[in-house]
């Protein structure tokens, strides 16, 4: 059961204002119910792995500055900083 409180908690976690919670509860509820079928897959004993890469294929430790003035092409404050909202 997915409750409205759960949706509210997750919305806070994901930093999205979700006004019409009821609409979401229904749709998200349906989606999660659908995922419940994973319980019958019988995969408890499976291991989770990923492919691996040898250390030698990784990037060399060299300083290569990025050639463009990046901050000037992004949102900036006085051309040098990024402005964030007030921290409480």
């Amino acid at each position: 059961m997915v409750t409205e409180e759960e949706i509210e908690r997750v919305a806070k976690l994901m930093k999205i204002d979700v006004h019409d919670h009821k609409e979401f509860v229904e749709k998200v509820h349906a989606m999660i119910d659908f995922f419940d079928m994973l319980d019958s897959a019988g995969v408890e004993d499976e291991e989770i792995t990923m492919k691996d890469l040898p250390l030698s294929s990784l990037r060399e430790d060299k300083h290569i500055p990025f050639e463009d003035k990046l901050i000037e092409n992004l949102k900036n404050y006085k051309g040098s900083y990024v402005r964030a909202p007030k921290m409480v």
């Binding site: 250390l55 430790d61 003035k69």
Partner: protein
Amino acid sequence: MTKIGLEIHCQLTKLESKLFCSCKANYRDYQPNTNVCPICMGLPGTLPRLNQKAIKKATIIAMALNCSTPEKIAFFRKNYFYPDLPKNFQITQLNIYGDTSIGGPGMIMVGNKKIRITRIQLEEDPGRLIYEGASSKNQITLVDYNRAGTPLVEVVTEPDFENPKQVREFLNILSDLLENLDVSDPGLEGAMRADANVSIKGGNKVEIKNIGSFHDLEKAVHFEITRQESLHAREIPIIQETRHWDDKRKITISSRLKEEELDYRYFLEGDIPWIKIGKDIQEKLKSEMPESISSKKERFVTKYGIPDQVAVVLSSDKFYSDLFDQSHTEKNAKEIANIITTDLMGLVDTAEKRTQSKLQSSHLRDLADAIQSEKLTRTSAKNALYEIVKSGKELSHIIAELDLGNVSNEDELLKIVEQVISEEPQALAEAKSNPQTINFLVGKVMQKTKGKANPQLTLDLLKKRIS
């Protein structure tokens, strides 16, 4: 039973580039947001490019702390929102699918106390927040991403520390160790930061964050212990929580933001495969590791007969031990060690002084020779050293320029001895009855010769004259 544990973040400032991109690892000389690229600014479509050397350096740190080092390591995402976090997740390490952090359980001795290391992990530093504006009403938050992506090694200890003094000792040992391994400059501002957790009498654990310096860490831990003991004495329960160190008021305060239970939703970083380090590389790294501080100390004491105290000072500072190893011979080892740990120390006690110093290992050799062959007195040697550090000139030039040569000519010295005796009749009388006071007269002769008189010869001549 006081229990203190630490989480220390050490920047790998000796690397050339950041952990996931080619921007400079040491961001300190840059104007805001000029040491950045699309990767470390978290622009859309960018992917992390792992730095090979960072893994090697982190591995030797783990080895130096006697940690287990798994052959394969993995990276995870720690998801949360903060303005200094360009992707709003941090790429870090965890052990949720087996041992995948760069270092597993280890230990280090702090005096006689064994401190257990829980794990070592490799991760990226966030950017920095800067506040502009005088009052809190007008204050604006600005973000500088120069530091974002700087490689960090996090060292987590078990709560084995019993008091703030042990904590301080450990931090010094760790600092020296990192410098000795040539992985970090711990003296750089912000290169080493630590959080602590404190509990007393088997009670709840309290975390302390936002501690700016090691000095503050000792204070913060001390304060927190006192705070908890006081609560305990009044039978008030100690809440398990995170507290912030308030640098102005020098107290820990409860985090005002009841951070809605931080749920980091950890999962494997899909853009970085597991990295196979392998036994071969690990063994090579181990064999190429710089000599440890304790091993150096042992060597200095057993091979060169250097006194214990002196050996401790020499070995724990890479600048001194490097200088010693480059300049000593079997013959002059003790003398070189002595010069470094007495006369030189005051002249190169800061990072700035060390960079400006013109001293070479050849100078030390010449100096030791001159002292041992009695061409220079200790006092003159000290003056010569000052000049060498400043100008880097050859010792022979300095001796000539400053006229530091020993006055060893007996006749010359005798003249001066006679002069002093005639000027100090009372002292002479005293010396006749109390031989110990002869040093006063020796001192006078030294004064007259500007420290160049051969002290032993002076003493002999005076003794002869008195008797």
